[in-house]
């Protein structure tokens, strides 16, 4: 890693981004109450992992953290802070020295924190004591990657303010449980009758694979084609988080936190909210199967 010089002078209250990785965003608990104006909720895709990170460093649950994508992130802190990396497991290095994953780590002012590529899963979370204090937009510090409401994605050289720590780091917390629910539960959706009985049987019995085109907007699946009972486009209707939509291709999409507010294709089911964090960590090519209630 060759450190780059920050765009603005060192501030004791900030950190500088040295390498943003593939996609690193700021996320808090999301933006609520603006869906009718076309604003996605955003927020961490693996919310329990982000919550754990905040607890480990002594932050309130509403503090903003960083969410990485596959390849990690490298930052340099301009003040001493407690840092915890949770979510997708990965190597953590502080000034080149191995540091703990999913534990609070004391980092001195001026140190470089390297969150390496995830060994499994997709998204790691970096919680810093005091939280990431970028200016909130519509009440939230979350980046929404559909409409780009909120702070921009991290870029090399960005200087981000850190908040003032308010709590003490937690010595111990619940271990990060591997969420290995192999079959994800489907709840009924408003368009349940808009795919054929044969399509429901395929959804129940076959295995899909996560597509390369998946992102914070949705987990796109490839596998058995789901036939619709009616190919007409529906009039636009609002969708909930976890909506399982069947577009004309017949390949289902599970909508995640940055999903479009309204859609014109059938929403045949809704993923159980407890299975959403697993969506955040499933890689392209990995299998997905469903439990239909």
């Amino acid at each position: 890693m060759s450190p780059k010089s920050p765009k603005s002078p060192k501030s004791p209250k900030s950190m500088v981004v040295l390498d943003p990785g593939l996609l690193t965003t700021v996320q808090d608990q999301g933006r609520h109450g603006f869906a009718h104006l076309g604003v996605p909720r955003a927020g961490p895709l693996d919310a329990p992992a982000a919550d754990l990170g905040n607890r480990l460093v002594g932050n309130p649950a509403a503090a903003a953290v960083l969410e990485t994508t596959m390849t990690g992130v490298v930052v340099r802190l301009h003040r001493a802070a407690t840092v915890a990396v949770t979510g997708a497991p990965c190597e953590v290095r502080v000034d080149g020295e191995a540091a703990a994953y999913a534990e609070p780590v004391s980092v001195r002012a001026g140190a470089t924190v390297e969150v390496r590529a995830a060994s499994t899963g997709v998204r790691s979370y970096v919680a810093i004591g005091g939280g990431i204090d970028v200016p909130p937009v519509l009440g939230s510090r979350s980046t929404d990657t559909l409409a780009w409401v909120g702070p921009p994605r991290l870029a090399a050289g960005d200087v981000l303010r850190l908040g003032r720590p308010t709590g003490s780091p937690a010595a111990l917390d619940v271990p990060v449980g591997a969420r290995r629910s192999t079959r994800w539960r489907l709840l009924p959706g408003p368009g349940a009758d808009q795919i054929t009985a044969a399509a429901w049987e395929l959804l129940r019995t076959t295995t899909y694979a996560v597509s390369q085109a998946s992102d914070r907007v949705g987990l796109r699946l490839t596998g058995a084609v789901l036939d619709r009972t009616d190919d007409r486009e529906l009039s636009s209707q609002a969708m909930v988080l976890g909506s399982v939509q069947v577009p004309p291709s017949g390949q289902p999409v599970i909508f995640l936190h940055d999903h479009p507010i309204t859609g014109g294709y059938p929403v045949v089911a809704v993923l159980h909210p407890d299975d959403l964090p697993a969506c955040a960590q499933r890689r392209p090519g990995e299998p997905v199967s469903f439990l239909v209630g």
């Binding site: 603006f34 869906a35 076309g38 709840l187 009924p188 408003p190 009039s235 159980h272």
Partner: protein, 196 residues
Amino acid sequence: MKCTRVGLDALLIEVVDAAQAVDLASWARTRIDAREVVPGACTVLLDGLDDVVATRTQLSGWMPGSAMSSGERVEIEVAYDGADLGAVALLWECSTEEVVNRHASVEFVAAFGGFAPGFAYLDGLPAGWAVPRLAEPRTRVPPGSVALADTWCGIYPSASPGGWRLIGRTDAVLWDVDRDPPALLVPGTRVRFVPL
């Protein structure tokens, strides 16, 4: 009115048209404890409900037309020089001047959003004036473009790809996160277009 449970804590209510959806949404916004109240073309989603069963009961208190009059009025100045103005005149079998007259004579109601922050589907064109979307969407529609598709009118808040037929443009600021509310056209707003 058909009411369907969606997931664990949401209800989707089907009504007959956009006007009823706007009406139910504004009624529900002041009476129902939902995290989000989101109208669609002929539905309203109530999301993040504490008690789905109690909400169902509460919904029986809504009568179509009970909240309609509350929408604010907004006038939007338009330069009618859109790239598809002539094509719309052909579809409507009239002159371009007549397209402008007709468009400016309608009182639209912002029905629902969802395409982009600040974009509103404006309801009000009669069914006979429906226009098909472009067969090949444009890769970039300039911000402020006033456009038609089916019986909807819409204004692009920011540059984006789009398949609607462009009839004019406006300088009105449709989206500003430092304004409250950030959208100029919230659902229920009554809109008139004024030729420049």
